[in-house]
């Protein structure tokens, strides 16, 4: 985060493209005691110190809504030029990829090099629903002080990162996949921190406090 952002009182802007878990993310940030707003207005995005892109659903339909509802040019400026910390949750992480392959090949936001593809399972059931462990490869600021390594997942696709340096943690479900990614001020988590009890609250708090 830039010095200028650090000096400001945190204000979290939750981007709204109609994804289902917005209220849960909002409730969690409120519970943590930060001011927050669900909004796509350029003025709110500009005032904010942190941006969150929630997500539940399919890559293709989410991307369509994102393109239609979010001021992407402006957002890009805030993220890449002003270095505003950005967190993508679940599909919000998956759409950071260059391409997604759910139903059909779809262009993603291309913030971090990679592709979103389906988990390969033989006997295991999909979607991967439930609590699973993360294996931390790189200790970074959003992982500070966690109780344990269990988080709540609901997904059938995963972010296959091109650059191994962007992978912060992995999780195993038939095979290992990236469950936390990071590039500069851009973060993505495949699980739902807003549904992962105190462990998830801690991660969200770290994102706001440390990043």
């Amino acid at each position: 985060m830039t010095k200028y952002l650090k000096s400001k009182k945190p204000f979290v802007c939750i981007l709204n493209y109609g994804s289902g878990n917005i209220t849960s993310v909002y409730n969690a940030i409120k519970f943590l005691g930060y001011s927050t707003k669900v909004s796509n207005n350029m003025s709110d995005i500009s005032k904010s110190t942190h941006l969150i892109l929630p997500g539940v659903g399919a890559f293709d339909s989410s991307m369509q809504k994102i393109k239609y509802k979010l001021p992407l040019q402006y957002l890009k400026k805030e993220i890449f030029k002003n270095k505003k910390p950005f967190l993508g949750i679940c599909v919000g992480m998956q759409v950071l990829a260059t391409f997604g392959y759910e139903f059909k090949k779809t262009k993603g936001l291309n913030y971090i090099d990679g592709e979103t593809i389906k988990i390969k399972t033989k006997k295991l059931k999909l979607p991967h629903i439930g609590w699973n462990k993360i294996k931390i490869l790189k200790k970074i600021d959003i992982l500070e002080n966690l109780n344990n390594k269990d988080f709540y997942f609901v997904h059938s696709y995963y972010f296959k990162a091109k650059n191994k340096n962007n992978i912060i943690a992995t999780t195993n479900y038939n095979h290992s996949f990236p469950s936390i990614i990071n590039k500069n001020n851009i973060y993505g988590v495949q699980f739902h921190p807003e549904k992962s009890l105190t462990n998830g609250l801690k991660l969200l708090n770290n994102f706001i406090k440390n990043c």
């Binding site: 289902g20 409730n27 539940v56 439930g130 997942f153 609901v154 997904h155 009890l197 406090k209």
Partner: protein, 271 residues
Amino acid sequence: MKKIRIIPVLLLKNGWLVQSRNFNTFENIGNPTYAVQRFSEWMCDEIVYLDISTDNTYDLRRNDINYNNRKSFLEIIKDVSKVSFMPLTVGGKINSLKKIEKYLKLGADKISINTMAITDRKFVNKAAKEFGSQSIVVSVDVKKYKSKYMVMKNKPNQSCTEFEVKEWVKIMQEEGAGEILLNSYDKDGLKKGYDINLIDLVNKSINIPLIPIGGAGKLDHFSALLNKTKVDTIAAANFFHHYDQSYYLLKKHLFEKKYNVRKHEFNTWSK
């Protein structure tokens, strides 16, 4: 590896938390919001909240300062999602896509559909297409007639449908259900253990996760089900309301017996 999920189910009837026996006797056990808060403190894997009222009156009959009277299930869910940062499934009288959207917007993650799936199975399909399979749970209630496990319809009156459970769950999976919540009329509320044959049969018939409920009365009933079937999720209702710290103690029991559950812990939240 993915953990075994242990899920408390809360039944709500006209604004009150109740316990059920054989789907016909209901006993009042308290205020729903506080029960959810309690489960949140116990760090539950997930929670299921079912409205089993047969009419539309919701009244906690408390108007003093500490209790806000809640007049609709929607309001109760709204309260619940502010205190519970865990996956929340909501069900009962789900009969339109609009209603599903409302609950999801309030903070529910999954919606459980029962009667409407029997009345119009395409409803499940439409709901799955609109909101994604991961948010659609189909709840199935079963009663044994001679040697057959038949699917029951609860409304307007309790009656047996033409479907055997193993065909029905396959149809529901085809239509886009993301999970099946399975209860047994014969075991419900009796505390004599789960119907292991039924659960095994259903689990082998589908590729989506199964959430079995009905019959848990002691700790061993949970391990018996895990030993004899391949389920990775177990739910219970009454069990969690009757013993102090029941959820914590169950988790501790399973963890110490080396089952792959999330470690038992209390919520000691601090930033």
